[in-house]
Amino acid sequence: MKDIFILLFRSKRFIVGFVLFLAVLSFAIIGPMLNPKNPFQMVGGLFTPPSDKFILGTDNLGRDVFTQLMYGTRTSLLIGCTAGVIATSIGVTIGSIAGYKGGIVEEILMGITNVFITIPSIVVLILLSIAIKTRSAAVMGLVIGVTSWPWTARAVRAQTASLKTREHIDIARITGFSSIEMIVLEILPYMFSYIFMAFILQFSGGILNEATLSMLGLGPYQTVSLGVMLHWSLLWEAVRTGAWWAFIPPVICLSMTTFSLMSMNSSMDEVFNPRLRRS
């Protein structure tokens, strides 16, 4: 375990991703604590450019963009994390059961998985979102989570199927472990790094899905998120009126978050997958 961290922190890309992510995270957590304001409060004129009073100016309704950005980043991270946890849990459960059990169970579970991989998830997301009128951030995380597990399930199944042929599995089976004990005690611990990487992918995917839905106008109800900020910019023509302070900050926050997560993911891939490493 210690070796892994040494290897990870030897990778420049991991450090860059890690530091960027910490920066975004602390901005989203500490920011609203130090500066508890209502992001919906109208405090100035509409589309006021950045000044001493408003670091990032105001939006179309005279609301402080900097305050929105802090709360928005927090909401986006929260939704992404919720979605990531849910999607990874469902994916790991289905994938490991299918991979370990094999036979008809595998056929059925993977059949379902493949059908939901084929149906574009954005369609299911849109339909679910219009069906739920008052979407809180948690509900949005849940909705995104239950639609994005199939990729994880497929990958975990493949891993489980290859782990299953190892010797320690046979020994454990002789000892009389049940299937659930086998999966939880003998299979999942061996793919912990893999599951963690899948979680990071789902986390970043969840943030992007939130932004996509919110930009289409299906964002969390009475909450500001990065996607909601961008939606407002589109709706009230901030881009075409040149009010860059209303949309460039959320664009940067969003890209920075996904970039940091993905660069951590890809450098972890290199560490756990020595064949990708080249010295």
């Binding site: 954005i122 299911v124 849109i126 339909l127 930009m215 709706l235």
Partner: protein
């Protein structure tokens, strides 16, 4: 059925039909979870707009009939399926009495013309770039890889917003949106085509750059795997020229990338739809954006249906191509002949 290739296609086709059926059912049932009678909600919305009451009653009757809300759910469901097979997607709320088919029919060519070239060219360039940077290594590799990582992680619409602001608003090089200049009528004249291309460049570029990045990363990874494999070492030791080895590596690494192409049709969809609405491009994405803003359920359902069909058809075509290209599937076919 003797021919394994036909069997392969048939099997795939069955899966796609199943997926389509499930998607259509979701398309029917999910919006019906909305509490209350959607027709009453819409008619009330219009009533506040000051529409005379006779017209409202007519409207109410139209939608009650179309939704068949007075009938049991399973009858509604079969009506819905029948209407889809007849390609009758109902009447739009916001553009009453405009038909959803007509609205989507006008938007779809723009979306296809924007997305297919963007995805395909992004895929081709990305694969070449990824393979080359895996082969080349060193400085080129690390620069190309970092750039790909950066671009592939910028959501399409973020890049779109930045492009729109910098290249159309700040420096007015490109138009600020739309598919063609305001006031012109789409015709096949030279002037219109030039105008349409001028409007096309920004949305196209914002999508293609992200696509190149994503594909390049995948291809680079696959190529590195192949380049360090035993057959490559063996070929090198035999003294086979690098160009020849590269061809082998490229072909092997390409195979998973073809599946990657199928995936990108589905995963790019959401971002691509939003990109359209950023540029007010007259495609399905902008239509969906307006439909959601106006809570126009028939139009939303029409858009989600057409998106599903488009993605399923694209995926199926890629699978057919895969069947042709993958030597393992082809070999079985030749072997049995």
């Amino acid at each position: 059925m003797k021919n394994p290739f036909v069997r392969y296609l048939f099997q795939k086709l069955l899966w796609y039909i199943l997926a389509f059926f499930i998607a259509v059912s979701l398309n029917f049932f999910l919006p019906r979870l909305i509490p209350g009678n959607p027709v009453a909600v819409i008619v009330n919305q219009m009533a506040t707009g000051g529409t005379p009451s006779e017209a409202l009653e007519k409207l109410y009757a139209t939608y009650m009939r179309e939704f068949g809300l007075d009938k049991p759910l399973y009858v509604q469901y079969f009506n819905y399926l029948r209407n889809i097979l007849r390609w009758d997607l109902g009447t739009s709320f916001m553009l009453y009495p405009g038909k959803v088919n007509g609205l989507i029919g006008r938007a779809l060519p723009w979306t296809i013309a924007l997305q297919i070239p963007a995805i395909l060219s992004g895929w081709i360039i990305g694969n070449l770039l990824g393979a080359y940077s895996a082969y080349k290594g060193g400085r080129f590799d690390s620069v190309a890889f970092t750039l790909s990582l950066v671009f592939s992680n910028i959501p399409y619409y973020c890049l779109a917003i930045v492009f729109l602001y910098l290249l159309a608003v700040k420096f007015a090089i490109f138009p600020v949106g739309g598919g063609y200049s305001f006031g012109t009528v789409p015709t096949l004249s030279w002037r219109f085509i030039v105008d349409a291309i001028h409007h096309y460049i920004l949305p196209y570029c914002s999508m293609v750059l992200v696509a190149i990045g994503g594909q390049a990363i995948g291809m680079r990874e696959m190529s590195i795997y192949e380049l360090t494999s035993d057959y490559v070492n063996y070929a090198r030791n035999l003294g086979i020229r690098d160009e020849k080895i590269i061809r082998y590596v490229f072909r092997n690494a390409m195979l998973p990338q073809i599946t990657g192409l199928a995936i990108s049709f589905g995963t790019m969809m959401g971002g691509a739809l939003v990109t359209e609405s950023v540029f007010s491009y007259p495609g399905v994405g902008s239509l969906l954006f307006t439909a959601i803003r106006q809570t126009d359920y028939p139009l939303i359902q029409g858009c989600t249906l057409i998106i599903t069909i488009a993605v399923l058809v694209a995926n199926f075509l890629v699978e057919i191509a895969y069947g042709f290209i993958d030597p393992r599937i082809r070999a079985v076919q030749l072997g049995e002949k």
